[in-house]
Point group: C2
DNA sequence: GTCAGATTTGATAATGGATATCATTATCAA
DNA sequence: TTGATAATGATATCCATTATCAAATCTGAC
């Protein structure tokens, strides 16, 4: 299912409404191939749609996360970042603590081991988040 | 090396000072076998030492994290939690999103795969953080 | 032990991101 | 078209963390 469909199905199921702002924000989110904070997204939105306020951007991001179109990325610096899940599936992050570069990583093996661990503890997994911090190849010397 | 030694070696190396407040806070942190926020720790400290202020607790936690005695646990709810690393080594977290229960998990296999992934990307790893969210055995029904 | 200089402390203010408020506007089923 | 209700945008509020600064404390030198 494509992102737009998924979002509006969610919106409808919740008894919410289809609005111009949500449409415009969703379009920009889907066109952005990196994680953005509410402030960063607001700046992007402002370039095209001066009339859309910060609160709406922030609320829409939350809605996108709730609908599963975006997921929240949190590197522990007090800022929530969001990234959409289309064109690239689940992945974890490798973050350079010097230059801030972020690489996406994925390993089937890793996912499997995690699943096993979770089952062993009697949990039902809904989501997980692995962030590895270090120095990238450029910064490590 | 024990936690106290590690902390004071760090403090000394940084040209900082050994103070009564740091000593008292460190003692309480080491006696607490779970992760605490600055506020929670402040409450604990207040029970024994009414004269120690919030700012000092907060600053000392940061120092403990910098020294490697504690590590920061951040579940993305905007609160920094800290846990000391003594008596139990590195571990990840399994968090129940319903009741808030937190289980510590560890897998050698998982750690190894992570190391391999990091190397493949040319990174040098300093730390990592894996949080798995889901429902615990009591809440999943 | 005392002193000088530097750090730490504690109370509180400032900061900053997220969320709440509320009057106005927009949506949508009937 | 309309009435009920959700959404918006500007701004206020919240809350954890961090900064500020005068007073207290620590530490090495004498």
């Amino acid at each position: 299912m494509d992102a737009r469909t998924k979002f509006y199905q969610f919106v409808e199921r919740q008894g919410l409404r289809h609005t111009g702002q949500r449409e415009k924000i969703l379009t920009i989110v889907l066109a952005t191939e990196k994680h953005v904070s509410a402030q960063e997204l607001y700046d992007l939105v402002q370039k095209k749609h001066k009339e859309i306020g910060y609160a709406t951007v922030s609320r829409t991001l939350k809605l996108l996360a709730d609908s599963g179109v975006c997921r929240i990325v949190d590197f522990g610096d007090g800022v929530h970042r969001y990234e959409h899940q289309y064109g690239h599936g689940h992945h974890d992050h490798l973050i350079c603590t010097k230059c801030g570069m972020v690489a996406e990583i994925y390993s089937e093996e890793l996912e499997e081991i995690q699943s096993k661990l979770v089952k062993k503890h009697g949990f039902v997994q809904t989501r997980h988040k692995l962030d590895i911090f270090g120095l990238c190849s450029k910064c490590k010397t």
